[in-house]
């Protein structure tokens, strides 16, 4: 097995110095191919600087759904001399190099090469659009009636801020960038108190700054959506690279115990759905809802079908806001009674903890009606691969090269956790857990919830994405 042998897939790499428009050229080529009806996966790799440094866009496309990009190039587009040198080892045998051309000529050359190789599609432009997880998530929020988005810029979450800022209207959506992440989340809580549907977003480092107020949203039962985009950590880490190392932090975020929902979409379509779902669920249950993304999901583009027509704006008529005649609305970070007055008597404290946790059963019931766990591949298979988040793409693409049929299990809801379902899918099977972290956090969560210990893990913690060909080889070997 080798990707050279997969004639259905074509890969173009575009390289150049930061500031030379590599991303722009890449996305324009992507749009061209999307208009031609291809399915596309486009990855973007860049260092954390404004100029200089090497930027690289790689896009693989096919007439069939494609979930990841490939290492071996059919065409290399060089926007500078260095690119040829850096990527010379990644070329297929008959690969072509385009260099020294401007965008319109590059496009023409690519069209000619595809024609020459009979890699063309004779179909109408499909309904899909080329979109990344961040923008899809933001569109989901919009579709579910977002009033305010509040954020402080932090890679790789910033494109949500940029996109929504561009969508502001006089009477509708408003976007605010306050002084820091602590201001962001506290401002959002003030908005929720006054009755507005609000979301905040950051990378996990920024969300780390929000912990106290995240806990406040749990205490005061203020509806809040938080987009958390993982990047390679700890600390400042590798800002422009990916990671799935914040699962444990996210599901336990905020001090104290309170119900929350954590949804981890795996592709742009799921991100769109998660954005809308998160806003509706936050208001339905008066809980904070986190949508956990990562750099790969946030920035890599995929042909996706995003349809706002299926999204409803679900409001909660039972919540009252300041400004309501004859009503006094009191909210506090202290433990409080039903009227919002501070309490500290043991029986009151216990009653209020139980009041908040009474929602958990309803949230779990709701989870059963949602896609909390998704299954792909051979649903009866004796061998199982389990994963979450953007690893979905790498795994689903790898599945094209599996030697035998394997069941693919994606955990979408991390909190609450669909213990019953995951147990049913994994019990008695050979299982491999695939994650973008060092400690196998999903595997440990599965063990905690189901008692099933997964000994076979494929973990990647070098800040880059799984190569699907490599992954397929590893999985085939483990299941041989």
């Amino acid at each position: 097995m080798s990707e050279d042998s997969n004639k259905d897939i074509f890969t173009i790499g575009i390289g150049g110095a930061a500031g030379e428009g590599v991303k722009k050229v890449g996305i324009n080529i992507g749009k061209l191919l999307c208009d031609m009806g291809f399915e596309i996966y486009l990855s973007i790799d860049y260092p954390s600087l404004i100029r200089g440094g090497h930027n690289f866009v790689r896009l693989s496309f096919s007439k069939n759904k494609i979930w990841n990009d490939y290492a071996k190039l059919d065409i290399l587009v060089c926007l500078n001399e260095e690119t040829k040198e850096i990527h010379k080892g990644e070329m297929k045998e008959n690969a072509e190099v385009i260099s020294g051309l401007a965008l319109p000529e590059i496009i023409e050359r690519i069209k000619n090469i595809l024609k020459k190789r009979n890699f063309e599609l004779n179909r109408e432009k499909n309904e899909s659009e080329l979109i990344n997880g961040n923008i899809a998530f933001a569109k989901g929020l919009e579709a579910a009636g977002l009033d305010f988005y509040i954020a402080y810029p932090m890679t790789p979450s910033t494109s949500i801020l940029h996109y929504l800022a561009s969508k502001q209207t006089k009477e509708g959506l408003k976007v605010i960038q306050p002084e820091n992440e602590i201001a962001v989340i506290n401002m959002a809580l003030g908005m929720a108190y006054a009755g507005k549907r609000v979301a905040v977003g950051s990378a996990t480092g920024g969300f780390a700054l929000m912990q106290e107020a995240f806990s406040f949203s749990g205490m005061a039962e203020l509806p809040l959506v938080v987009a958390v985009v993982q990047r390679q950590a700890p600390a400042t880490g590798v800002p422009t690279r990916s990671s799935q190392s914040d699962l444990r932090f996210i599901i336990h975020a905020g001090h104290g115990e309170f119900p929350r929902i954590v949804i981890a979409p795996g592709d742009p379509e799921e991100s769109f759905k998660a954005g809308a779902e998160a806003l509706n669920l936050a208001w339905k249950f008066k809980v904070p809802v986190i949508v956990l993304l990562d750099k790969i999901l946030s920035e890599h583009l995929m042909t996706s079908s995003i349809d706002s027509g299926f999204i409803s704006v679900e409001r909660n008529e039972s919540i009252i806001f300041p400004g309501t005649p004859e009503k006094v609305v009191k909210v506090t970070s202290y433990e409080h009674d039903e009227n919002g007055i501070t309490v500290d008597k043991a029986e009151d404290v216990k009653r209020m903890v139980e009041k908040r946790f009474a929602k958990s059963a309803n949230i779990e019931e709701e989870m059963k009606n949602r896609e909390a766990v998704k299954i792909y591949g051979n649903t009866d298979g004796g061998d199982v691969v389990v994963f979450f988040g953007s690893t979905k793409g790498s795994v689903l693409e790898a599945a094209k090269y599996f030697n035998k049929s394997v069941k693919l299990v994606q955990v979408v809801w991390l909190e609450p956790f669909d213990t019953e379902r995951v147990k049913r899918e994994l019990e008695g099977k050979r299982v491999i857990c695939i994650e973008g972290n060092h400690n196998g956090q999903l595997a440990s969560l599965i063990r905690e919830k189901t008692g099933i210990e997964i000994t076979e893990k494929i973990l990647r913690y070098d800040s880059t994405s799984f190569d699907s060909i490599e992954l397929a080889e590893q999985i085939n070997q483990k299941f041989s």
């Binding site: 009033d147 305010f148 509040i150 006089k170 009477e171 408003k174 605010i176 306050p178 002084e179 820091n180 602590i182 201001a183 962001v184 506290n186 401002m187 959002a188 809580l189 003030g190 908005m191 929720a192 108190y193 006054a194 009755g195 507005k196 609000v198 106290e212 107020a213 406040f216 806001f321 300041p322 400004g323 309501t324 005649p325 004859e326 009503k327 006094v328 609305v329 009191k330 909210v331 506090t332 970070s333 202290y334 919002g340 007055i341 501070t342």
Partner: protein, 267 residues
């Protein structure tokens, strides 16, 4: 119409604490604003931080939001943006706004958010049983600075003028008539209103005698539209307490009209 602004909560401030005077002043201001048709009671949203001052939200029967320590100001701006018809007032402490949440104070003044901030200024951390804070004088002995604080305090009014607050005033909690007047002027001012309320902590830093003799009201004819004059006036003294014997001016030092953050947001 008779307004019932009290709640069933038992007041747990130290007997004689000037916080009670601030509470009564505020209730009277709200009552008058409502009676004069300047405010619908349901549109009053009173915020509080964490500290002794923060208990006030349990003692006033109006909409309230008791935030985290130091984090009240962005929540106030959030509420005002969400519903500009709300009258947003916030009770904060010197620890709350000058230590923990200083960045929010500066930025709220900078963006001229149409909110009203009343800082209970006792120059000590009281609820945590007495430590120095940002406004404690140098040499102040407290549980965390047993040999005396080695830091100089800053002048919060000066800071607010520099940051762009469009209403800067100071009052003395013991002077309830004066406090009411300032609160009312702050609430009716459009834009960020900052009021420093000198509120001696009778348990951990009793400055009542000190301030009783030092405070004085600036005249009615004080020009409130001149930043330089305001800066000079509020630099007169106050922060060199208790070593020197300057006077502590009270009153509205600065009041100008500028577009508010919320107006700009919906423009």
């Amino acid at each position: 119409m008779e307004l019932n602004l009290a709640t069933k909560s038992k007041i747990t401030w130290c007997p004689g604490c000037p916080n009670s005077q601030i509470l009564v002043s505020f209730r009277q201001v709200v009552t008058e604003l409502v009676q004069n048709g300047l405010l619908k009671i349901e549109n009053m949203a009173a915020f509080a931080g964490i500290g002794c001052h923060g208990k006030i939200s349990d003692y006033i029967n109006v909409n309230s939001f008791t935030s985290l320590h130091g984090r009240m100001i962005p929540a106030m701006t959030g509420a005002k943006c969400a519903n500009p018809s709300l009258t947003v007032v916030g009770f904060s402490g010197d620890g709350d706004s000058y230590d923990e949440g200083l960045e929010h104070l500066i930025h709220a003044a900078k963006r001229n958010s149409d909110i009203n901030l009343f800082v209970h200024d006792n120059r000590v951390f009281a609820l945590t049983t007495g430590q120095f804070n940002a406004l404690s004088p140098k040499g102040f002995k407290s549980k965390s600075t047993p040999f005396g604080s080695i830091e100089e305090p800053f002048n919060s009014l000066f800071l607010m003028l520099s940051a762009g607050a469009t209403f800067v005033a100071r009052t003395y909690a013991g002077d309830m008539a004066g406090t009411k007047k300032i609160m009312q002027a702050a609430i009716t001012h459009k834009g960020f209103s900052y009021v420093d309320i000198i509120q001696p902590c009778i348990t951990f830093f009793d400055t009542r005698d000190y301030f009783k003799d030092k405070v004085y009201w600036i005249g009615e004819d004080f020009p409130t539209n001149d930043l330089k004059v305001a800066m000079e006036k509020i630099s007169e003294n106050a922060e060199d307490l208790p070593a020197q014997a300057g006077k502590v001016p009270l009153g509205i030092f600065y009041k100008v009209d500028k577009p508010t953050f919320e107006e700009e947001l919906y423009k």
